[in-house]
């Protein structure tokens, strides 16, 4: 008997018990759709992070005060206790490192912004006029402040869209006055909307002021926590990192066995770390979903075993009228594969549908992974073969005389 006929026979047998076939498939449907949906969520998160990293640019370096790890004690970057990064350091970097094109410090402060009778608590960042270029983030209306604003510590603000929306409710913020710690600041620009970052934080809830202004008029301290440095090209990033480290060690008069009192990180390190976290999450999600696929497979085996016992007489009839053991074995094996593959296909449909629905319902980005689809098809065929083999062998081993007599 050829394969086509065996497949026909297997389909016929399944059609005779549609309800059971459907319920058996359900396990695989849920398993496969879970794998597809989970991998889509994971890949979506990864893609978002990647897109963000790409938009920031791979030639970006972070220089922060304080070491990441000193004598086994982790002191956070930008720790309030460290004074190891100065404006002079940054000037030196700009001047002496040839592979660096731009530098901007970033002084972090939180504060209350007041405009008329509205107020808004937000993050105020003291940066240089090169910030939009370094971070590849431009202004939408108005202008970013200039180098003369930085020199004179002018009281100017460039606000993110969230602040513009909340303090001015649709009115043009340019030229308006915002009070910070009772000092009036003039709004000179509004940044382009950036949306949420990969962690779901609102990136538009930020206001920029010259770092000199932040140091002198808001914080009252010359401390720098972090600086963004642009290398001349993505390829020059590593060289720049080396040279900055060397320069800062010299300037800080560190001995060769002293640890760094600053940290230089590049974007690709951060990207790699983020990707690794995301891959781990994706793997974890896929594994959990895979477990449900395995449970679905066991469901198939269970039903196939019941089916073999229940259909002992049918097997006897088939053997008596000339079916070889191999034909019976193939029939049951193919029934099992048909169950798992049909379930797998429905599972893919459901998984793709939920991957499309999740961004709308939950707001999580998803990216449908072709590999997950192909992988789950292959996996469901394997589940069918693996869990169908034992029941099929049991059916084929039956003796026609006993099977015919079975009540």
């Amino acid at each position: 008997m050829d394969l086509l006929n065996i497949i026909r026979v297997a389909f016929r047998a399944l059609q005779r018990n549609k309800m059971r076939a459907a319920l058996t498939m359900l396990g695989i449907i849920i398993g496969v759709s879970a794998v597809v949906a989970m991998v889509s969520i994971g890949q979506g998160a990864q893609a978002t992070v990647q897109a963000q990293i790409d938009s920031i640019g791979t030639n970006l370096l972070f220089v922060s005060a304080g070491a990441q790890n000193v004598g086994g004690v982790r002191s956070g970057t930008g720790d309030s206790g460290t004074n190891t990064l100065t404006v002079e350091d940054l000037d030196a970097i700009k001047r002496e490192v040839p592979s660096v094109s731009m530098v901007t410090p970033a002084v972090n402060a939180r504060g209350q912004l007041v405009a008329g009778n509205m107020n808004w608590n937000t993050s105020i960042q003291g940066v240089s006029e090169q910030y939009p270029e370094v971070r590849k983030w431009s202004v939408q209306s108005g202008e970013f402040f200039t180098d003369s604003d930085v020199r004179t510590a002018a009281r100017v603000l460039v606000v993110g869209q969230t602040i513009a929306d909340n303090l001015f409710a649709g009115a043009d913020p340019i030229g308006q006055t915002i009070r910070v710690q009772n000092l009036p600041f003039r709004v000179v620009g509004v940044m382009v909307r950036k949306g949420q970052d990969a962690q779901g934080r609102d990136q538009d809830d930020v206001a920029f002021t010259p770092y000199t202004t932040a140091q002198k008029k808001i914080l009252g301290s010359p401390r720098l926590q972090i600086a963004y440095v642009s290398a001349v090209s993505p390829d020059a990033t590593y060289t720049a990192q080396q040279q900055i480290t060397e320069l800062l060690r010299q300037r800080h008069k560190l001995n060769s066995n002293d640890p760094d009192d600053f940290t230089v990180r590049n974007m690709s390190d951060i990207a790699e770390a983020a990707n690794q976290t995301n891959s781990t999450m994706t793997m974890l999600l896929a594994c959990i979903a895979g477990v449900s696929l395995l449970v679905g497979g066991i469901g198939i085996m269970n039903i196939m075993l019941v089916s073999v016992t229940e259909r002992t007489r049918e097997i006897g009839i088939r053997m008596a009228i000339g079916a070889r053991s191999s034909a019976v074995r193939s029939q049951f094996l193919i029934e099992s594969i048909v169950l798992s593959v049909t379930g797998g296909l429905f599972g893919i449909l459901l998984g793709v549908a939920s991957s499309l629905a999740i961004p709308k319902l939950l707001g999580w980005p998803t990216l449908i992974s072709m590999m997950a689809i192909v992988g789950s098809v292959i996996f469901s065929v394997m589940v069918g073969i693996f869990f169908g083999y034992y029941p099929a062998r049991k059916a084929a081993a039956l003796d026609p005389i006993d099977a015919l007599r079975y009540e």
Binding site: R12, I317, M319, A320, I321, G322, R324, A327, L404
Partner: protein, 273 residues
Amino acid sequence: MQAIQEITKANPSIAGSIEIPQTRAVIQLDNIHKTYTMGDVQVHALRGATLGIRAGEFVAIMGASGSGKSTTMNIIGCLDRPTKGTYILDGQDVSELSKDERADIRSHKIGFVFQGFNLLARTSALENVELPMLYAGVSGAQRHERAMQSLAAVGLAGREQNHPNQLSGGQQQRVAVARALVNDPALILADEPTGNLDSRTSVEVMEIFQRLNRERGITLVLVTHEPDIAQYAGRIVVFKDGKIRKDYPVKDQRDAAEELKNLPAIEADEEDD
């Protein structure tokens, strides 16, 4: 061949008692032993049975339970192998064949009719009849045509799409006969085919057997414990204690077609099932 059948029909006493060399033996059992081992106990189901059945014969095998008739039937049907002795079916020694080889023999040379009909449930009559051809590797178009012919031969034209639960017992058994016929076997083996049927339906089924035997010369082996059913055969073989006790031609063979004419027509009720 035709002439011999004419003779045996005209004078049933000739069949089985006289060796007719022109007719080759379809079944030749030679000193068949069958021993089952059940735990430590050896059960001798057959203790040297020798039996020849020629083409075109209609033989009834009788005997009490435990007499060895079921074992003989299983061996004749190539469902089982003898422990000792040789079995030649249609010119081929089948006593030493493997499981798969026996499946092929069953597929091509033997048609089975069982007491419990043994049709596949939730499967149309047509598909049930097509099933043996599926395993024999007959092409799709031919399967359909031959199944239709076979169903028509047992008087079930127009019932092809009915499922077994939509058919009466007699009709189901006729589907089983059509299924047994469809691969054009050398032998049809019927195991208590009337065991689940009322007397009228039994006569109907026997009429089909007699007709197939007479018109097509199909060799029939009927296993039964009902003496009146055995009377429709041309020859009776009686088993006792694993051996053949009696082997004689039937005198006054019953003619099912004749009897049906004299029975009141209740066919209409049955068709309404």
